[in-house]
Amino acid sequence: MSFWKNNFLYLAKIIFLSILDALAVWSATILFTEHKYIFLTILIVVTAIINFIYLSKKAYPLRYIFPGTFFMILLVVYPIFYTVYVSFTNYGTGHILSKDQVIEQLENRYYLPGDSQDFSYEAFKLPNEKEYAILLNDKQGNLYLAINQNIEEINAGDPRLRDPDGDGTIDQVKNYKRLSRGDLLKNLSTLQNLEIPFNDNILKMKSLNAFSLYRQQYKYVASEDKILDIKNNVEYFPKKGSFASSEGEKLLPGFRTFLGWENYLTLLTDERVQGPFLRVFLWTFEWAILSVVTTFALGLFMAILLNDESLRFKKIYRVILILPYALPAFISVLIWRGLLNTEVGVVNQILQTLSLDTIPWLQSVFWSRFALIVINLWLGFPYMMLISLGALQSIPNDLYEAAAIDGATGWQRFKNITLPLILVSIGPLLISSFAFNFNNFNVIYLFNEGGPPIVGAQTPAGGTDILISYTYRLSFESGRGADFGLASAVSIIIFMITAVITWFNFKYTGALEEVKENV
């Protein structure tokens, strides 16, 4: 009994590892047969690491750390590196496949040459299965039998051709039964897709009455890295992710390829992209700064009002004022969007009853931005109020008493004591808040999907888009298809800005030194 109790954890571990390894072996065989060698390597390495960590005494602390870091590496670290890679490629709609996949697709395209030879045919089918045998006649008396992609010339007396009722038409080929005209129509969709290789060409159904010889249209010449169009006798060379002729004609689809700095250059130099991108870039900063300043101003102001021992209803006020912050932001923003609806929204209705002009909250860039700042003020001031209240309580009272003796006015006390001391203690939180609003996708996107649109922009950039919503729309919303490469380039720019803000924050607070000392 006590043996089981003492060794329970050890046993559990062994059982867990056995199941894990069994699963890994099973997955590995599947991956191997499907030729997914990259996934296979990752699987083997990860499984080996897990076994090492949980069996070796040396790796003891890693047993605790591993589960969390595994997810972090897979879903934060790896995606960051992958984003860097994608930003240097043309990955996106029209360039999804690899070059090999595109070549394979092109080489599977056939055309019907003008001098093509027709074959009359009869089709036979295995009962209850989608297996066919085709008996072909080239009209010069030669017979061919095709079963499962294999075609051979036969003579009329071949023993496989059976005619049990002796009426001259063949009723059966091996076990395959002849298809009547009606059955033929039922099986048409499958028959139309049959491709029987024949002397470097392909036999395909041309019409209900005939098969015909089709010729492969494109051939890849590996030594010269080119695609040859046999039909039109044109050469296509790979250029920026597509096979293109000397006249600039491109074959579809394109493939993924490495572009170098092109996506970044597009953002900075392509006139139709650069203008809107710069607008988005500047507004992102304006947005983040205005958000921090307005929420901090109102939050601190309310905190000073509430930081009064003798104020009545103080606790109730506090709870009510926190409410906007307690609501999930996505719900609040959608509510605001309704209230500010230009045609039917409550705010415009109130303006109307006061006989004022209604405001195009969602249609004008200025008013959209204005509304966003107000909404974010509503969402964010309670947070600033909470942290300011905490900071206010830590300011020693004798500072104010000394100031009072010196005859300082209320404003002077605020300017020379309260504000500097508050800024010291919550400065880092303000920088974090800046970084947060810099990427505050929910508010921007849920309010107006980044709109109203900028007229004449080639990429989907709206008047209130910030960099992160611009990235999102480039990848997942654009009517012109997804441009993962360009979107990743924008992501990398945001990464760099975030890194700079953080570096600034650490420098400002000396947090790094603190970390180094305390760990």
């Binding site: 589960p67 969390g68 870091t69 879903l75 009002l305 309704g338 996708f441």
Partner: protein, 285 residues
């Protein structure tokens, strides 16, 4: 004289606070009014609806085209599973950083600090493409599955939580474990039976924060999930209401209330920790 002026200032303070309270409650009151208003439209909405009833709520629960209850359930399920696993993994990860001496400990902590600075959503394109590829091999973990979105959230949840947890564990004296070792406990037993129960407050706070953060997440869920019965509340509600304010306002308001109230209650439980600056910006703000 002095007294009277003091009273005037007090009155002014109350007045200003009330103005801000009106600002804070303005959208909430209108939402409540719309939820109870059977007209179901923004047009000519009155603050106090005539014939207030619960028609909007009934409609909400019986709408097959927009399965609100399924979205809500999806959100709660995903948030609960994410928060539970994330807190467990965080507690495990933080423990050795707080207690054991091993090579790479400082560097490990530092790397975690650096990684958690970058919001996960910045890599949304890469995450999408990753799951697009996984889908070919393992459809149960591919796009439009809940395991996929939970895994993504777990990846993003570890960094900052590990730091908060480690900070808390550092305040628990090591003498407790030493006593346990003398009684013959293994290292893991000491962690599981002595330290974890003592760390319950931080576990609860991190659980609630993670729950709220997951519940409110929109961008990654909207990329990964793409069918009606898989949506979370954030994605479903956005699709339900965009450009339909004129004729779905009442139902939407009812949904907003039901969706928000549990989160508001959870939030009120942990808000005092925000004052301590402990969780600055951990959820939002």
């Amino acid at each position: 004289m002095y007294r009277r002026q003091d009273k005037k200032i007090k009155l002014l303070k109350h007045l200003i606070i009330w103005i801000v309270i009106i600002f804070a409650l303005f959208p909430l009151v209108w939402t409540l009014s719309a939820a109870l208003n059977p007209a179901n439209t923004l047009i000519n909405q009155k603050l106090i609806p005539t014939n207030a009833n619960f028609d909007n709520f009934k409609y909400l629960f019986n709408n097959e085209q927009h399965p609100f209850l399924i979205w809500l359930w999806n959100s709660v399920k995903i948030s609960f599973i994410t928060a539970t696993i994330a807190v467990s993994m965080t507690a495990l990860a933080a423990y050795p950083f707080s207690r054991f001496k091993f090579r790479g400990r400082r560097k490990g902590l530092f790397v975690i600090l650096l990684i958690q600075i970058f919001p996960q959503m910045l890599a949304m394109v890469a995450i999408y493409l990753l799951f697009l590829n996984i889908q070919e091999v393992l459809p149960a973990f591919g796009l439009n599955t809940h395991p996929a979105i939970i895994t993504i959230y777990l990846g993003g949840a570890i960094g900052v939580n590990t730091w908060l947890m480690k900070g808390y564990l550092d305040t628990i004296p090591t003498s407790l474990e030493e006593a346990a070792y003398i009684d013959g406990a293994s290292k893991f037993q000491a962690f599981y039976k002595i330290i974890l129960p003592l760390a319950r407050p931080i576990l609860a706070v991190l659980f609630v924060l993670q729950f709220i953060a997951t519940y409110s997440e929109y961008i990654l869920a909207s990329i990964i999930l793409n069918s009606n019965e898989k949506y979370t509340l954030a994605v479903g509600l956005h699709l339900f209401i965009s450009d339909m304010y004129a004729n779905r306002w009442g139902v939407f308001s009812a949904a907003a209330l039901i969706g928000a109230i549990p989160i508001v209650l959870l939030f009120m439980l942990v808000q005092k920790y925000i004052v301590h600056g402990l969780i600055g910006g951990a959820v939002k703000g």
